[in-house]
């Protein structure tokens, strides 16, 4: 364990751009590295990514290990795993962080097994103890409890949820080193035959979200929320029950078992506010609640609330907003 030192962040990229969760991990990594007085490095795999590697330095990395090869343009599971595992064995970081994205949650488990080390999923909090032990905090049992987890092997590997850690401000004066690494190619075994963008923008990126819950009477009524969202330039979200009923697809789900969102405005319509739902939207700047039950827990989290029937309130809001813009 003595051989291990420093923190490393996996910088996930899509189409040549780093996923924002990578910057968040660098922000948190920077804070922890400074606390311990150790180095923060990052590993980036892609095709012609030198500019992006520099961005990682601007966002907090001391060193970026860059694997530049066309094979890394898309997610090539086994080549990603092989090269990252080799790097970790060479650099021996004490902590290795991944974003808990689909890609991160698919890749990290393989690397942790290849390294024979422990992995903690989907952390929402991280802290460093004096001895270099990483305290990994994650919600468990539908977000009803928080488990504080420690790992006795090194590196301590964790996936960390998107939009829970603040990233640093970009600083072009930050200095760091880009180290180009030799790429070893192994058989991919998986072939991407086709790739396409799913139509809508991911809900995690939306600045304003209008979400519906049990208070909706039928699937079609999401169109009412969509009307309001469209007027305000936002996206439509959902609590879990409508998703489980198949009224709206899973990508729209906000909450513990869905997406964590941090929009400027979150409008909860007919959502009572279970701990599981609150876990996914408590980071919103402003929360507006519309619910006919005055005792609904959502009102305790709301900055603005109306006790009333969403079928009455939303059309009124729409009318009012339309009046404003005409």
């Amino acid at each position: 364990m003595k051989d291990y030192s420093g923190l490393m962040v996996f910088a996930e990229q899509r189409e040549g751009r780093a996923h924002p969760v990578s910057y968040e991990l660098l922000g948190k990594g920077r804070e922890m590295a400074d606390k311990l007085g150790v180095e923060l490095s990052s590993v980036l795999l892609g095709n012609q990514m030198e500019e992006e590697a520099r961005e990682l330095i601007y966002y907090g990395a001391d060193k970026v290990f860059l694997y530049d090869n066309p094979v890394f343009e898309d997610f090539d599971l086994l080549n990603y795993k092989h090269n990252i595992t080799r790097l970790v064995e060479e650099v021996k970081p004490e902590v290795f962080l991944f974003g808990a994205t689909h890609l991160g949650r698919s890749l990290a488990p393989r690397i942790a097994v290849a390294l024979g080390t422990g992995l903690t999923a989907d952390c929402t909090g991280l802290d460093m103890s004096e001895d270099g032990g990483l305290i990994q905090i994650r919600p468990a049992f539908s977000g009803n409890i928080l488990a504080h987890i420690r790992t006795k092997t090194r590196p301590q590997v964790a996936t960390v949820r998107y939009k829970v850690m603040p990233s640093m401000l970009r600083d072009e004066h930050r200095k760091g080193e880009i180290i180009k690494k030799d790429v070893e190619i192994v058989p991919s075994l998986l072939t991407i035959l086709k790739k396409e963008k799913l139509g809508e923008k991911s809900i995690t990126e939306a600045e304003l979200i209008v979400s519906g819950g049990r208070g909706l009477k039928k699937a079609e009524d999401f169109s009412l929320l969509a009307d309001l969202a469209e007027l305000l330039g936002g996206a439509v979200g959902s609590s879990r029950p409508p998703v489980d009923d198949g009224w709206i697809s899973r990508e729209h789900q906000v909450g513990f078992s869905g997406n964590t969102v941090k929009p400027k405005v979150y409008i909860a319509c007919g959502i009572s506010g279970s701990p599981q739902h609150l876990a996914g939207m408590r980071g919103a700047d402003v929360i507006v609640s519309i619910n006919s039950d005055p005792s609904a827990p959502i009102f305790k989290m709301a900055d603005y609330g109306i006790v009333g029937d969403l079928y009455e309130v939303i059309p009124k809001l729409i009318d009012r907003i339309k009046g404003e813009s005409s």
């Binding site: 049992f141 987890i149 072939t191 991407i192 799913l198 991911s202 078992s257 405005v265 402003v286 907003i321």
Partner: protein, 263 residues
């Protein structure tokens, strides 16, 4: 004919589980046990392949003796064979030890073509064990599979990651982890239930795996991670402006707030 393995987990019904919010303890006995709902989608996917192409489905589960009922449930839904991994030595396993134990048992079963896992479990919620099994076995995996496009000489699946849809081709053997979007699991058939009641559940402990696995990698001993503390999330409330009616004033003020904050 495909040899398909479906690892399943018995979990408490999450809508019934009680929590001691003072102590931060989970009272597992407070809820009925069932097959992890995501694993039902994995099993259904396996059964659909079997119906089309023929095959043998083996479900495998690690857990206490009582997990036998989950395996009987799987038999009644179309599985052909079962293995229960149960031993004190397996207890207290994190995902590394769990995946190692399951992978060792899969090795012992012999050759296979396809392993189908659920996306994650509702109690652990890590989604790690599937990819970890694949790594232990040295086979590729595809996670977040929402559709089986083609099952033939090769496997072609649709997987969705971060707002992109991929069509991915793989040779066998391969492991896939499927999402709930892939299908709607069927209910157990009556005949299946009758057969399941009589079926013999194969049970393996550490001893049965000793020829292919290291004992030190099972259970607590083989688990590098451990929960050292449990806390209750602090519920930080907001002191909001709550209107008790839908008056024009309320609509006016909320509209103004929306414009002020949405940027």
């Amino acid at each position: 004919m495909l040899r398909i393995i479906v690892p399943i987990k018995q979990v408490p019904d999450m809508s019934q589980v009680k929590f001691d919010t003072e102590e931060g303890r989970v009272d597992r006995s407070s809820a009925a046990a069932e097959i992890n709902p995501f694993d039902l989608n994995a099993l259904e996917a396996a059964v659909q392949i079997k119906e089309k192409l023929g095959g043998i489905i083996t479900t495998i589960s690690m857990g206490p003796r009582q997990a036998e009922s989950a395996l009987r449930d799987a038999l009644s839904r179309g599985a052909d064979d079962t293995v229960l991994l149960t031993d004190r030595a397996f207890a207290g396993a994190d995902t590394l030890a769990t995946s190692y134990t399951l992978a060792s048992a899969i090795r012992k079963l012999g050759e296979f073509d396809l392993i189908i896992c659920g996306e994650k479990t509702v109690d652990g919620d890590t989604g790690q064990v599937g990819p970890q099994i694949a790594e232990h076995l040295g086979i590729p995996h595809v996670a977040y599979v929402s559709k089986l496009e083609e099952v033939g000489e090769k496997l072609v699946v649709v997987c969705e990651m971060e707002g992109e849809r991929y069509l991915i081709e793989s040779d066998f053997p391969v492991l896939i982890a499927v999402t709930k979007d892939i299908n709607t699991p069927r209910l157990p058939s009556l005949r299946g239930k009758l057969n399941a009641r009589k079926a013999e559940i194969k049970t393996w402990g550490a001893e049965e795996l000793s020829s292919i696995a290291e004992k030190g990698r099972f259970g607590t001993q083989g688990s590098p991670t451990r929960v050292h503390r449990i806390t209750i999330p602090a519920e930080e409330g907001r002191k909001g402006r709550i209107f008790r009616d839908t008056s024009d004033e309320a609509i006016e003020e909320i509209t103004n707030a929306l414009y002020r904050y949405k940027g």
